[in-house]
């Protein structure tokens, strides 16, 4: 695919970070717009729904704050930028460089996450100001494992969107396919409710999809809720290893169909 090395990775990240800093206000607004877990927390606690899943108010608060953090660092939008670039022929110069263009998009996402970090911390501090009892500091081990799980969640979503993005070599409006995934992602990922709140027979089905490993698993891990660490990480690795070859194949087939439109 391409020969990545440390120098390339650092330069890519540095340049994309400088670029993202140009959009810091926009990114701050995006960070604020991601507070949906806090609304859900409000709904859950005001209606005492947490009792049905045997979770205390504090643990539920921590879960939704963790969900907010996981979401902040796993947001993916590659399908939209790639689609525009492909349809307008903007990827042409990138295709003729010895680096797969998706590395550029990947670096853009990572740079955006770094830019989001201070805003996410400020929002968390404000949250703790109003929910002092929810404050906690996870152990270093749990924190690092949560970071890894969040990164895996980001990778899964990046690969899913990249595969869909490659479909624009055939359908031109691939982002509409991505919208089909919006509802299952919203409900089954744990963003609106912890997956544990679903009936058991539904849960058994949900756990064989990639969705609960996007938010629910890393958020439970970070907040200290009960979760199966090994099975969660293994499932994430499983989905990454399934999606990566699919992406590679779709990419190589798609580029053969590329017509470099718009130029």
């Amino acid at each position: 695919m391409s020969n990545l090395n440390r120098h390339k990775i650092i330069t890519l990240l540095k340049v994309q970070y400088s670029n993202m800093l140009e959009y810091r206000v926009e990114i701050a607004l995006w960070a604020i717009s991601g507070i949906i877990p806090f609304f859900m927390l409000n709904i859950w606690t005001n209606n005492n729904l947490n009792e049905s899943i045997n979770l205390s108010n504090t643990m539920l608060s921590r879960y939704f704050l963790s969900a907010f953090f996981v979401r902040q660092f796993s947001v993916v939008w590659v399908v939209f930028t790639f689609e525009e670039d492909a349809l307008l022929g903007k990827i042409s110069p990138y295709l003729l460089q010895p680096l797969n263009p998706f590395f550029r998009y990947f670096a853009q996402h990572l740079a955006e996450q770094i830019t989001r970090l201070p805003f996410a911390i400020i929002i968390a501090l404000i949250f703790f100001l109003f929910n002092k009892e929810s404050f906690w500091i996870p152990s270093l081990g749990i924190f690092l494992l949560s970071c890894l799980a969040t990164f895996f969640s980001f990778l899964i979503q990046f690969l899913i969107q990249s595969i869909i993005a490659c479909l624009c070599f055939w359908t031109e409006k691939a982002s509409s396919i991505e919208r089909l995934l919006f509802i299952p992602t919203l409900f089954l990922s744990g963003l609106l409710a912890p997956v544990i709140s679903f009936p058991e027979y539904v849960r058994s089905w949900i756990y064989i999809t990639p969705f609960p490993y996007l938010i629910d698993f890393p958020a439970n891990l970070l907040s200290g809720n009960k979760t199966n660490l090994i099975s969660g990480l293994l499932m994430q690795i499983f989905w990454i290893s399934v999606l990566f070859p699919v992406f590679k194949k779709t990419w190589s087939m798609g580029t053969k169909k590329y017509t470099a439109m718009g130029s």
Binding site: S2, N3, N5, H7, K8, T11, L12, V15, S18, N19, E22, Y23, G89, K90, S92, P93, Y94, L95, L96, Q97, P98, L99, K256, Y258, T259, A260, G262, S263
Partner: protein, 329 residues
Amino acid sequence: MKENIIKVENLSKSFDISSKDPGLKGTIKHFFKRETKNIKVIKNITFNIKKGEIVGFLGANGAGKTTILKMLCGLIYPSEGKLAVAGYLPYKRKTNFLNNITLIMGQKQQLIWDLPPIESFYLNAAIYDLEKFEAKRRIRKLAEMLEIDKELYIPVRKLSLGQRMKAELLAALIHKPNILFLDEPTLGLDINAQRNLRKFLQTYNKETNATICLTSHYMKDITSLCKRVICIHKGCITYDGKLEKLLKRISPVKDLLIICKTDKDAKELCNLGFAIKNKNQKEITITIKNDAINFTLKEILNKFDIEDLYINEPPIDEIIGNILVKEKV
């Protein structure tokens, strides 16, 4: 003898293009049943290009020039035929091949819009595995040649079109490619910027012996850079050879502007049976075949009292404009 760096044999390219009838009926029909036609835009073309050559591709809009460049640089797959550039199959886009080529499109940009060009240069340098010191040296040298040293630190969005085009060129040449594919590189530039860019390309070709394939609608680009041209008409090659020879073949005439001393001479001159192109009191422009120039000049100078005389080539744009719409040259 120089080796062929680009070899093209019976190359063709077809596209599936969907068509839609106008109006609501057409839209509904298109929604349920899409009609696609397979259109062959490049038809069995064959040519070779030697190392260090500058070749201009001439043709009207939609003739297939850009499609040929896209196939040569590996951006799109050919439908049929054989193709080798620097010994590689371009569409495989192998790293060694990509390190050897560059494509510059007048209407497409690769620079990051909100950052100064220097950031994009460093990024490209890293992508092509250039050492930091070497990258800086090349950027400095190219910036001097292109005269954009001062613009390196200004965000791209604040640069003028000419400055941006120069920066694009620098970004595309930082890895010192041996083969340059230029698709209308002077598009939208003012006359000075066009001239500077042409000068730069000539110097680059001279210094690095790079092969350049160029398409342009500005005839000055072609005449000042290319000794050889390939004319494309509806996906076929209608001429492949020296530009000079083509111009002679297409336009075997010259314009002679004669300024007579008296009105009487001017009147008499008009009655000699020359093909008169223009007449303005004592100034007469006649068109003469190249092989009759000596004889005609002698005759005119012997018979009339001439104040001044000019021999002009017909405007190149006029000649090439005629070539573009011809099926055979």
